[in-house]
Amino acid sequence: MPQKTLLKISNIDTFYGGIQALWDVSLEVKSKEIVALIGANGSGKSTLLDVISGLISPAKGSIEFEGKSITKLNPYQVVGRGISHVPEGRRVFPELSVLDNLILGSYNRTARSRKEQNLTIVYELFPILEERRNQLAKTLSGGEQQMLALGRGLMSNPKLMLLDEMSLGLAPIVINNVYKALRKIRERGITILLVEQNVRRSLDEADRAYIMEAGRVVLSGDVADLRKEKEVKKAYFGV
């Protein structure tokens, strides 16, 4: 069954303080997919996510979401279209309560009317957040903060989630929980673009993957095929 393209990035160039960070990057995410974006530190993965969510505007190229251009939109407008970016390092609001963090996730107009339903969904996914709803976010553990960041991202009622380095700095057992949550998010029909340094783990979850090096996409394809590629094996699996 051919799925329809949700996100289409074409020939993006981006500069970061005078230095070119992305070179002619193209990428596609189809509806209901999990796509992994992998590569070494500084290869441009997070920059690409920033470009999608409008934090950085590209020098060249275009981004389409559901067939409409979002290339020139501001971050708050991109959120309104249904893209939720969960940033690296979680970036919860430390001095606000867990509940206020979640409520701010549904700041955009479309999501605001669905706040109560979405809150129920988030609490079902992460019961710990309901338990701790009145605590300040800074008092949560790293794993709980990641749950909060994911929950806050879900509150914007997204069709596509951009997840940046979810497992960074977390204990293995916590990482398992985060990935369990990822599967549940997928079951809700939400498409996911995943940036990870934990290559094994992300390839286990993803349908397709793009591999980046020095600001370029060097390889892409179905995960099953990519695993067979010699270079990938050597670079990421040490065989």
Binding site: H85, R91, F93, Y107, N108
Partner: protein
């Protein structure tokens, strides 16, 4: 002896606390803008004075009571604040962190000179019957205007706190002050939120200007002196904390009146600023600062 001392010290104690209310009222807006956009708005004092002169114009030209003139003064300063942030400061923020500070200096000079040209350097005051009244018993007499200052500061501080913690916009202002990038990713239009924060800070300036004028005579240069006092208040209380700013006002007010009581009038401000220096040395983030 002891009872005499008690009666003597009651006046500076009450005066200090009430005067602290006026200081807090002036400082609340400064503290809010710093907390949200990390901008030290050096024009704050002159914008407070703009409100004093606006009320003066309403009083002398149309006979409108200064407090009643706030019906126009508050929306006027709200719109001015929104416009200053949206059309001047936000562009400066895009350049560097220093640029908005320079813009604020510019705004300060423009307002100071504007007020000088229109009103001359002469001292003015919002003279009303209730501002001149006083209350108390025996030796303890307190000007009624001081009590009004305190009540206004308390009400504004509590309303600001409620607004910041309960409303969607207030929470967004809070969020943007803690992590601007994350706030953007939550769908918050941070440019608009900043404009609202600045506009709200100007509403507090409108109130501060009127109550300042009811309490003290003012000249176009007064903005600078009150800006320095407001600095002291936020340093003591902790920048960005509304309750801290309120308490900071009391501490500075008390330091001033008690300093005057024990060491003479000339030592008033010396005592007040010594407290600021002590706080900076012992607890640089302020009493309520994070």
């Amino acid at each position: 002896m002891a009872s005499e001392f008690l009666a003597d010290i009651t006046t500076p104690l009450i005066m200090g606390i009430l005067l602290g209310g006026l200081y807090a009222l002036i400082a609340l807006g400064l503290s809010l803008v710093f907390g949200v956009m990390k901008l030290i708005n050096v024009a704050h004092g002159d914008l407070v004075l703009f409100s004093s002169y606006f009320a003066y114009a309403a009083l002398t030209m149309a006979g409108i009571d200064p407090i009643l003139s706030l019906v126009i003064g508050i929306p006027l300063l709200f719109v001015m604040g929104f416009a200053i942030q949206k059309y001047l400061l936000s562009r400066a923020f895009a350049i560097s962190m220093e640029a908005p500070l320079i813009i604020a200096f510019g705004i300060s000079l423009i307002f100071q000179n504007f007020q000088q040209i229109v009103w001359s350097p002469m001292s003015r005051g919002l003279t009303t019957s209730y501002a001149l009244a006083s209350f108390g018993t025996g030796n303890v007499r307190v000007p009624f205007a001081y009590l009004l200052d305190f009540i206004a500061a308390l009400v504004v501080m509590l309303l600001l706190r409620e607004f910041l913690s309960r409303t969607y916009l207030g929470k967004a202002i809070n969020a943007a002050s803690q992590d601007r990038r994350a706030a953007q990713l939550m769908g918050i239009n941070t440019g608009r939120v900043y404009a609202f924060a600045f506009a709200i800070s100007m509403v507090t300036a409108a109130l501060a200007g009127v109550f300042l004028g009811l309490t003290f005579p003012f000249t176009p240069q007064s903005g600078v002196s009150f800006l320095i006092i407001a600095f002291g208040v936020v340093i003591i209380g902790g920048l960005g904390s509304m309750l801290g700013t309120f308490i900071g006002g009391m501490v500075l007010g008390l330091a001033q009146t008690l300093g005057g009581y024990f060491f003479g009038a000339a030592a008033q401000m010396l005592c007040a600023y010594s407290i600021v220096i002590i706080v900076l040395a012992v607890r640089p983030q302020g009493i309520f600062g994070r």
